[in-house]
């Protein structure tokens, strides 16, 4: 089944130069280094990775808030590089964004009504002020706010409410694609679910395509159809979410998943703790970028850059040893024994003994 592609990145690179000047050599930070991906119409596509892996830069490239050093982004099959004036405004109407920080991303000196109404002014100038107000009220209602909130300022709202204002704002122009750059990571955990659910409902209601960038797998797992895992500026694994979560093929994905606490009692899993820090994106390791931290790394990994290979239908991973690792270690979320580790068993035994002693 081939679905229509709405957004496509082709070998996208963004390098930043930092430092330098006055005799010092400049560093080139390879924030995004050769990313290709396809987002299908109507799906929720997630991009995950640790902080510093370049996912926010990737988001900005996709939104064209940054221009790529190399490569291209296609929206509806058209390159968005070099768009200016009218065509860029049209793109902004069709493709909207929800930003990470709901506190700093809303202009503190404008009322909510103005903030949400502004895209309407630009993209639907034919609306009268009255119609615009009605539309704003409707949008606020859609995100669970009241119409009278339009007269208030952003600082009068909580984080979750602000993020919903951000969503209403993003919806105002009537976009077909919304990109969320860590849309809930700045919120309390209790509010995260609320905002995520809201986004999900709105996606159905407005027939949207969502691209969600996150470092939190729990958030991704529940709402995304497909997922791409990023490490040091590159995508190391991609595929349908269920498949990737159940059966990760790249050791980095395994490590990420094993770090997610499992809320089900008795479902402990092999923890795969990563050694060391992420290497600096200004001096990425040769060969496979993950080899410095990968417990399965071999000589080959140090020398040869792994290519993205199809592992299962729709699922690809960039690892030389993906098959071997899967064969030897199975799925990292497999149930093991009683669900208690050896140490835990010993502790339980000791408690039991202590209680027995006291009783005597």
């Amino acid at each position: 089944m081939m679905r229509e592609t709405i957004l496509e990145a082709v070998n996208l690179r963004k390098h930043f130069r930092s430092g330098g000047g006055l005799g010092r050599t400049a560093n080139t930070v390879r924030a995004v280094d050769g990313v290709s991906l396809e987002v299908h119409r109507g799906e929720t596509f997630a991009i995950v990775g640790e902080s510093g892996c370049g996912k926010s830069t990737l988001a900005r490239l996709l939104m064209r808030l940054l221009d790529p050093t190399e490569g291209d982004v296609l929206f509806d099959g058209r390159s968005i590089a070099g768009l200016r004036g009218r065509t860029l405004r049209d793109l902004r109407r069709d493709m909207q964004f929800v930003f990470q920080d709901p506190f700093s991303s809303l202009n503190p000196r404008m009322t909510v009504g103005k903030l949400v109404g502004e895209p309407l002014e630009t993209h639907s100038p034919e609306l009268s002020a009255r119609e615009r107000r009605a539309k704003v009220a409707e949008l606020l209602g859609r995100v669970g706010l009241r119409p009278e909130h339009a007269g208030r300022y952003p600082h009068e709202f909580s984080g979750g409410q602000r993020q919903r204002i951000g969503i209403a704002r993003a919806l105002a122009s009537g976009p077909r694609l919304i990109i969320g750059d860590e849309p809930v990571s700045a919120l309390d955990v209790s509010v995260q679910a609320q905002v995520i659910n809201r986004l999900h409902d709105l996606k159905e209601e407005f027939d949207l395509t969502l691209v969600i960038i996150a470092h939190d797998l729990a958030v991704i797992r529940h709402m995304s159809d497909r997922v791409a895992v990023m490490y040091l500026g590159q995508i190391v694994e991609t595929g349908p979410s269920e498949q990737v979560f159940a059966n990760p093929r790249h050791p980095y994905t395994r490590a990420l998943l094993s770090a997610v606490p499992e809320p089900v009692y008795g479902r402990a899993h092999d923890r795969m703790a990563l050694k060391g820090e992420t290497p600096s994106p200004s001096a990425p390791p040769d060969g496979c970028r993950f080899h410095t931290r990968c417990p399965f790394a071999t000589e080959e990994c140090r020398k040869r850059v792994p290519e993205m290979r199809e592992m299962a239908p729709g699922q690809g991973a960039a690892c030389h040893h993906a098959e071997k690792i899967a064969a030897e270690h199975g799925s990292p979320v497999a149930v093991t024994g009683s669900g208690r580790s050896e140490g835990a068993e010993r502790r339980f035994a000791m408690y039991a003994e202590a209680i027995a002693d006291r009783g005597a």
């Binding site: 920080d101 991303s105 202009n107 503190p108 895209p119």
Partner: protein, 314 residues
């Protein structure tokens, strides 16, 4: 907001009183004796004693101060020892002149400095930015008096475009009043324009990096709207503060400019009064300037309310 301004006014009262004490005491430290200057050549001891008694200079300092401040509260700033005119009358004569000069200079400064600052922030790192900075630096480093003299030479003497000096009250001939003041205002305004430009630039640079400006861009707004409505409005607070403080500085800075263009304003009055040890006049002027400063600050604070909705409710 009214409560806030009321509170600020209450705070202003002790501030002004404190300033008045300082002014009064500093006067006492000045060398020289006005009575000796008044008594003339003979310096007849009886005359001196009479004059001292007449002007209350034999009273202990606190008594002198309270007599003076008591008068001030009733609008009586004392009598000039030199011209025997009431100080308040002198001030009322000269103040409008200096205010006209300062306001015009401020208009110059804002009209030149703020747009230049916005432009150089938006075009950061380009030729426009560098050019604006070079001009600003020149504006700051060229001394007022030199610029004034050069302008007189060029504009008035050589080209005969504007009058070289003097003053015409606006009530008498508005056009002439403004044209006469054009050059002095420009001279006085250049340094301010440069300061304003630098501050506007740095405030704008900070705001342009902020998330909500990115949001505004992402909305697909026209760049002009992003810069003026989203960025500039948020950069305005430091600019307003600075403008208010600069206005106070303008009145003080006017001294030199007034001398160059022989404008009968505050500056000339201060210089003359200091040289003549005309205590009452100097006290009156300093007090008046201080009050002006406080009023400008109050206006700036009030402007914050208009600019920053977060202040309104708390």
């Amino acid at each position: 907001m009214l409560a806030f301004i009321g509170r600020r006014l209450l705070v202003a009262i002790p501030t002004i009183l404190l300033i008045s004490v300082f002014v009064f005491l500093l006067q006492q430290l000045l060398p020289g004796d006005p009575i000796l200057a008044m008594a003339g050549e003979e310096r007849d001891p009886a005359t001196i004693e009479f004059l001292r008694e007449k002007y209350g200079l034999n009273d202990p300092l606190p008594v002198q101060y309270f007599k003076w401040i008591g008068g001030v509260i009733q609008g009586d700033l004392g009598i000039s020892l030199r011209t025997n005119q009431p100080v308040s009358e002198l001030l009322l004569q000269k103040l409008p002149v200096t205010i006209q000069l300062a306001v015009m200079a401020l208009i110059f400064a804002v009209v030149i400095g703020v747009p230049a600052g916005i432009l150089s922030a938006v075009k950061k790192g380009t030729v426009v930015d560098y050019a604006a900075n070079v001009v600003a630096l020149s504006g700051l480093s060229i001394p007022n008096f030199w610029l004034g003299i050069m302008l007189i030479l060029l504009v008035s003497v050589k080209w005969g475009l504007l009058p070289a000096s003097g003053y015409t009250p606006p009530g008498e001939d508005l056009v002439r009043s403004i044209t006469t003041m054009l050059m002095p205002a420009f001279v006085l305004g250049t340094a301010l324009a440069a300061t304003l430009m630098r501050h506007t630039r740095s405030a704008m640079l900070g705001v342009l990096k902020s998330d909500y400006v990115r949001t505004a861009r992402a909305k697909g707004l026209y760049e002009r709207r992003v810069i003026l409505r989203h960025a500039f409005r948020n950069a305005l607070v430091p600019i307003v503060t600075l403008t208010a403080l600069l206005f106070g500085e303008l009145v003080a800075g006017a001294v030199l400019t007034e001398q160059i263009f022989t404008i009968p304003g505050f500056g000339k009055l201060v210089v003359d009064a200091v040289f003549n040890r005309d205590y009452a006049v100097v006290q009156g002027i300093v007090l008046c300037t201080a009050v002006g400063f406080i009023v400008m600050n109050l206006l700036a604070d009030a402007a914050y309310f208009a600019l920053n909705p977060r202040l309104r409710k708390s």
